[in-house]
Amino acid sequence: MALFSWLIKYLSKEVFPLPTRMFAFVCLVFLLFLPLLTRDPYLLRILILANIFAVFAASWDLLSGYVGQINLGHALFFGVSAYASAILNLKLGWPPLLTVPAGALLAVLAGLVVGVPALRLKGPYLALATLALPVILMGVVFMFPGLTGGELGISGVARLAKTRVAEYYFTYFLMVALIAIIWKITDSRVGLIFHAIREDEIAVRASGINTTFYKLLAFCLSGLFAGLAGGLYAHFMRIAGPATLEMVTSFQAVIWTIFGGIATVYGPVVGVFILVPVMELLRLVPEVRMLAFALILILVLRFLPEGIASWVQDRLEKECPRCKARNAFTRRQCRVCFAPLENG
């Protein structure tokens, strides 16, 4: 009961006054009740993949958007966890509830392995060094076909849940929870330090903050969330193959995030839920599918370089000049401190 009244209070104070949060809330409720309307397995499949990829993209945003450590090899975490989950499931017979966290822990380890050498590198050097790692791991995967299945990958992994609808709800609630956690992290003191490291690392160090620790923490957290997504992906697709390590997978996370809006957490989620269905729609015209995708990307980035979610938010909301709280564009007075808002 206390939880319920807290929820009502939270919604009326923090969600309903802002049009973008209202929209996100409506979308979440709609997705929650969607299986009541349709149980089309193909539609649910697209949405399940979107749920998984939303976590994957948000984890890239946490590391590269917030901390500014541009990671072009994010597929490393995804692939490590996908392979680990698949191997643990098939060779040791662990259920998905154990293999996914175990895979994610391995991805955290991978985050440390990448993070420690990455401390020495900056900007484009870091971006290109990370680009190489999944490619090299792919070579290793091909070298041990007995364990990893070589080019074919490991198939026959256990299902995430018994039915499609159960899988949908499982990934849906996990997505909402994980995105909320990532959002809370970026909203906390740690998130503030992440922001500061991106803007000026030397100044942060001069303020007595151990930037090495926070950068490694970012790599580990990002690895954890990307790893969870990777494990879920292996169990949902029922296969862990070299495709999870491909450069395309890394760049997809970047594309979704930039498309939605970098360093926002909701940006990558919006990007995934727009681009994944669009890519499925484009399957209707297979010859020009990639062409249309590239064109959409070019046009959106050219005219909305900060991403589609950030652009919409700037149109629907304005920031209070005094207390920096966000307000709906219709308001004359700030909803927190009652300072007058200029209309413009």
Binding site: S64, L121, Y125, I136, M290, L295, L301
Partner: protein, 289 residues
């Protein structure tokens, strides 16, 4: 065998050097990781294929037209698409990648995914140490060396070269010295795309043409600029030959080595990054904000 490796390595080295010099120039002057770079190389080769094959234009004219058209296209796309979003680093990254994908898909639609070839401009061959060396190979090689020498002269002896190098070293101070930084970046892009187009033009009779032919050189060029040091053209040329010979050795000596060549370049890049993060001749942009 050794002579074979030497001949192939020399050619690959020259092509990578030409591509990496342009990539390095535009990174140094414009601070742009220009992932479309090798797509222009593919584009130039395809334009020559079309002009010589379907339109029946003479090969020499085709080379000039293709280099000119690609360069104009490259500068236009830079001004229209990349420059307006320059402030957003990651947006530029994805924009240039999307542009490269766009070119690949357009070529795929027009010419299909078949492997194509362009007839040699000059026929005949000679034998050196038991290896067949065509005159086309010699011609391509001489062209590349000539172009690289011209770039070096341009950068070291002319006013434009000084402006380019000054902007690469420090944008703000170059601006204070009265250098039009935006224009300089555009000119750097022009030179870079022209170099990529020339590389595409000289290899078109020697390599196999396909729409995805830009991806492998891109990976190698990224490794080359890291190994040589970002923004250093001298380092890029040295590293291009090192990586080209390493790659050719792998392809010739390791069974199925052709699959490993990209990974091997990246591995060398990683080793260099760990031992010497700024590359062989790199400048460390430590003070930059």
């Amino acid at each position: 065998m050794l002579a074979n490796i030497f001949v192939m390595g020399l050619l690959n080295g020259c092509v990578y050097a030409l591509l990496a010099a342009g990539f390095s120039l535009i990174f140094g002057v414009g601070r742009i990781l220009h992932l479309t770079h090798t797509a222009y190389y593919m584009l130039a080769a395809y334009i020559i294929f079309h002009l010589v094959g379907a339109a029946g234009v003479s090969p020499v004219l085709a080379v000039f037209v293709s280099v000119l058209a690609t360069t104009i296209g490259g500068v236009l796309f830079y001004r229209l698409l990349i420059e307006p979003v320059r402030e957003h680093e990651t947006t530029v990254l994805i924009m240039t990648l999307a542009l490269a994908m766009f070119f690949q898909e357009v070529m795929l639609l027009i010419f299909g995914g078949h492997f194509r070839g362009v007839p040699a401009m000059v026929g005949g061959f000679t034998t050196i140490w038991g290896v067949k060396v065509t005159y086309q190979y010699v011609l391509s090689m001489v062209t590349i060396v000539f172009v690289l020498a011209a770039v070096w002269l341009l950068l070291s002896k002319t006013r434009l070269g000084i402006a380019l190098r000054a902007t690469a070293q420090d944008r703000e101070v170059a601006n204070l010295m009265g250098i039009n930084v935006g224009l300089t970046a555009t000119l750097a892009m022009l030179i870079a795309v022209a170099l990529a187009a020339i590389a595409g033009a000289v290899v078109s009779p020697l390599y196999v043409l396909e729409p995805a032919m830009w991806t492998h050189p891109l990976v190698v060029v990224l490794a080359v600029v890291i190994v040589g040091g970002m923004g250093s053209i001298k380092g890029s040329i040295m590293a291009a030959f090192i990586l080209a010979f390493a790659e050719t050795l792998i392809v010739f000596l390791v069974p199925n080595g052709a699959f490993l060549r990209g990974a091997f370049s990246l591995f060398i890049m990683l080793v260099v990054l760990m031992l010497r993060p700024e590359g062989l001749y790199g400048v460390f942009f430590e003070g930059e904000r």
